[in-house]
Structure formats: structure tokens, C-alpha cells
Symmetry: C2
């Protein structure tokens, strides 16, 4: 079956995402035409997934479609932004209709869930590589940034970090676990749920925010460094899922929560005076976040455990380290 590029784009991606009134011209011309919301800043992020690097091969196409968008949604969540429009650059070895249908279904389901329209893209032949660029809005001057926190601010993380890294190890056959825990952890890797609702609500509370993609310790360290501070995490406070504990035991579960990647959770700082009202407005149990440490004046990112500082040889995934 020979599909021309044009027919391919048309068949699988024209109606893939949400329908939005602010799209003046979507897929099919030289560029998309969009109507930015008045009084808002535009927020833009781009992320690439490469098969064999971020993924075991052969990559599940529905998960690849989901994650290619999810990683960008998570970036916008970390800014406190609301997503609107996505562009998809898809490089693949050949155009297989079944593969494309599953990929588009995975991408489209998540896009519609967050009211994201797919407004443009490019398809190219080559090694499997997916780049999504996501655009959205945030009220002018109110975006969350990595910079802005100060020593003494309390640090929180959403969800249960480490799950996705364990899920990837299970996918790759580097780890074995009981069926229920295995299914849960794999799903956490294959279909991460970016924290957009939390991100939006954190505007006005968080002094700084970052999305946890390279490992909690590394990303908390980046937030602290951008804020001109350091960070001290509390080992005992790390939120670990039951499945992660069951699969790895508490010790290795804690290590993976600190150093695993692909969580797509939010790590954010809150001034101590604002912690009580944050808890009242967004109850942690309902919104799914946990206090894990504090910012300090001394630079660096360390973990306190029973009064001593833990050392980590691996502080998160660096693509070119």
C-alpha cells in the first residue's frame, strides 16, 4: 500500500485532536493560523521521543503517541499553563496504516482530554522519531518558573515518582514483579498523566515549579539552582506507591523515586507562610501531592536520612553524560 505523504497526514491526523474555535486554519496548508487569547502570554514547549533511546523497541504505537504529547503537556503544567495547540513532526521508517492508526489514537485521546487541537505537522521517512511542539496560554505575568523560590521554601512533589522508571525496567525485561504491580507500573510508564489541573491551581501558591522528567533529585536540584538555592529532601517523606514497594522493596523504591526518570510529575516550592492556605485550598490527599523537603541557602541537592546526608552516584538521566 503506497500512501503519499499528503494522504497519510490527511487520513490519520486531520481529525486527531480536539476541535477548537481559535484555530483559523489547521492541518493542510503551509502553516497553521491561530488566534491567541487576549491578555495571555503564549507558552511553547517542544520534546522529542526516539525509539530505542526513550523506548524499548518495537515501541507500542499507542503509548508512543500518548507519551509524545504527554511530555509536552507536563512542561506546560509546570508553567501553570493551559494547552491549546500541538504540531507533530513524525519521522518513521515506513507508513504502516495499522501502526499509524494506533499512534494517532494514543495521541488523539490525550489531546481531546486536554482540549488540544492538532494544527500542523510534518511526516518524513527515517529512523522512528517523534517531536511534538505544544502551545498554550497563561495569564500575563503569572507563569510558574524554575526561578523564584528562596531558602526556607517548602518543596512538594505530585504523585509517586519512580513508578515510571520501574515500568520501563519491566517493559525491558530488566525487572520482574507480581502481575498487579507490574501492570500498574507499566501503565505509569506507557501512559503518564500530566498534572495540568494541579499546575493551573498552583499559580498564586508555588514560588517555583519544574516538571520531573529526569529524576526527582536532579530536577529538584535544577529548580533550586535556578532559584539561587540548594535543596534538602527527606528520605522518609518520599511518596512511594504500593506497587513500587512491592516490586523493589522500600530501599530500592526510594532510590528509584529519587533518580528514576519519566515521571512527568510536578515538583514545586511554596513559601512557608503559604503552605497552610495551599493545604486548605488544594487538600494534598485529593490533589495528590506530598511535602518532601525544603530549600536551603547552600547549593546542591542532598537527601537527609535519619540525620545523615545520603550520597547518590547517579542523580538522574543525562542524555549526553
Amino acid at each position: 500500500m503506497a500512501l503519499t505523504e499528503f494522504a497519510l497526514i490527511d487520513r490519520y491526523f486531520r481529525s486527531c485532536g480536539a476541535t477548537r474555535g481559535d484555530v483559523r486554519l489547521g492541518v493542510g496548508d503551509d502553516a497553521a493560523l491561530l488566534a491567541p487569547a487576549a491578555g495571555q502570554e503564549l507558552v511553547a514547549a517542544t520534546d522529542t521521543l526516539v525509539a530505542g533511546v526513550h523506548y524499548p523497541e518495537p515501541a507500542d504505537p499507542a503509548s508512543l503517541g500518548h507519551r509524545a504529547l504527554a511530555v509536552n503537556l507536563s512542561d506546560l503544567a509546570a508553567m501553570g499553563a493551559r494547552p491549546a495547540w500541538a504540531l507533530l513532526a513524525l519521522t518513521l521508517p515506513q507508513a504502516e496504516p495499522a501502526w499509524l492508526a494506533q499512534f494517532a489514537a494514543g495521541l488523539g485521546e490525550l489531546a481531546r482530554a486536554h482540549d488540544v487541537a492538532l494544527v500542523g505537522g510534518d511526516t518524513t521517512r527515517g529512523p522512528l522519531c517523534v517531536t511534538v511542539t505544544l502551545l498554550g496560554h497563561v495569564p500575563g505575568g503569572s507563569a510558574l518558573r524554575r526561578a523564584g523560590a528562596a531558602p526556607g521554601d517548602v518543596l512538594f512533589v505530585s504523585g509517586t515518582p519512580g513508578d515510571a522508571a520501574a515500568g520501563l525496567a519491566l517493559e525491558q525485561g530488566r525487572l520482574a514483579a507480581a502481575p498487579e504491580a507490574s501492570a500498574y507500573l507499566r501503565e505509569r510508564f506507557l501512559r503518564p498523566q500530566p498534572r495540568l489541573a494541579l499546575g493551573e491551581r498552583l499559580r498564586g501558591y508555588a514560588s517555583a515549579c519544574i516538571d520531573v522528567s529526569d529524576g526527582l533529585l536532579a530536577d529538584a536540584g535544577k529548580l533550586a539552582a535556578a532559584s539561587g538555592a540548594g535543596v534538602e529532601l527527606d528520605w522518609a517523606a518520599l511518596p512511594l506507591s504500593e506497587s513500587l514497594r512491592a516490586a523493589l522493596g522500600a530501599e530500592r523504591a526510594g532510590e528509584l523515586a529519587l533518580t528514576g526518570g519519566d515521571d512527568y510529575e510536578l515538583c514545586f516550592a511554596v513559601h512557608p507562610d503559604r503552605v497552610a492556605s495551599l493545604a486548605a485550598e488544594l487538600p494534598p490527599q485529593r490533589w495528590g501531592y506530598t511535602r518532601i523537603g525544603t530549600l536551603r541557602a547552600a547549593p546542591g541537592a542532598v537527601v537527609q536520612r535519619e540525620g545523615t546526608v545520603m550520597e547518590f552516584s547517579h542523580s538522574g538521566y543525562e542524555h549526553f553524560a
Copy 2:
């Protein structure tokens, strides 16, 4: 030399493009924050270059950086838009400082020439693949589209199509030519100059516009089809560069002008009543465009030569054909 991803981005791309006052937050956070211009529509395009597909290997890094942005600039030119901000997703096998410096120089020089700020991106390890997403502005409701032309409209093309395809053939050793012609044609492939000034000036004149990237005949056909029409090109009117004629002879030069790719010129339609004022306002000799045919009611794209219709077996490059 081990560069972390963060240091790599910082070193080569933080100051790569233009500096713009409407960038609230650029490279280095989870997403960029941008201030869209009031009363304007946002224009967005994304394009990927893959080494070995769009390029002979090893690809010249400065040319790769230039072209990765140029192909997107050309998309915005075809909409009559003015570019503003770019995001770069760069996948490469390893981080070589010399390669990165040249790539960033090629990208940065063209970006600064068109006042484009590099506001974000992602670097990943994998097979060489470059995706640039470009954002810009066009006054609300005034963008040029592929649709909008009608039978009887006159068709024009900028520049001398076919040069870049010959340049690629020279780069790949599939073609030989005298030194001067060879140098000219290679440069046309390696460093295409997108027609942004012409695109902006065509607003109010062109009834439809498309950027010529897959071959003039194929792209003129897309413009016509989007406008619910067909197109008839005039073989004798095709603008051929002296270098292309010298390298290939008039016959093959004309064929390549019709079917070669990578031109990044503009093909546009103008209502017959507007042709005279277009020529007065934008003299063709100065602005470098040529009348090449007309739109007709019958669908399809054909070439007239001395009263007969020419047939083409290959009407442009289709990535998945």
C-alpha cells in the same frame, strides 16, 4: 569531553538567534513565555530534516542548521507572515563541540537575519534528525492560503526553480558541472534564501500562495487543487538560471525546474485585474518572480509546450510514494 544536555544547550543555543523584546522567558525553563502581538494571528509551522533522507551524509552542519530554519521560514513566507520565535528539537548521535558550533552558527545567522529568537528546544541522543518549529504573526484575516484562487488567475513563481535539485545532485556526485555553475547550484541547495519580504508584500495581491518544496509542478497542483481548480504551466516561460542551463542543457533544466525539490520559492496566483498593479508595485525584475501559467477550471496540473500538453512520469518528491 562529556557535556551534559544542559551545558550543551546553554553553550550553543542560548544566544544563537535574535534578541527580541517579546520573549518573556527563553531557553532554559520547562517552556518559553512569549507575548503575541495584538491584533495579529499566530502562524505556526514545523519541519524535519533527516540526514541520509534530505541530505547526503555526512551532512554539512552549518548548512543543516541553515536549512532546518529556512524550510520553516519558507512556510511562513508562503502565508505572508513575519517570523518571530523558533524552537529546535535536535537529535544527534553524539555531542561534538565542533559540529554543534557550526550547526548553531548556520542556524543563528539565518535566524538573526530574519529577527527570529530561538526560545526553546530539546536535545536527544539518536540518529541525526532536526525539527524546527517556527512561530510568527500575520495581521488577522490577511494570511495567504493555498485556497482562494480561481480559474483565470495568473500563476507566478519566485526565483529559478530546479537549482536546488541540481545542487543536491552535485553534492551527491550524481551530476558534474563546471566550477562556477557547480558552486552556484550547490549554494542554492545548501543555503536556500526564503522569500519572506516578497511573501509579506504579496498580501493584498495574491489570491493563493504555496511554498515550492516538493517540485513546482506538484506544488502548483496543490495550490490549484486547494482552490478547486487546475493549473496549466507554460514550458517556455519557466525561469531557468544560467547555471542550471549550463549544467544540464535547456531540456533537462526545464524538467528539473518542474519536478526538482528543495527550491523554497513562492508560487502564487493573482487575479488578472490585479496583475498590472502587482507589476507596478513590485517590479518582477527587482523582486525576482516570473509569470509561468494560469489556473483553469479542469483539475490537474499540466504543462503546455508549443501547443501540446507534456506528460511527466514524476511530478515531485513524495516521501512515502
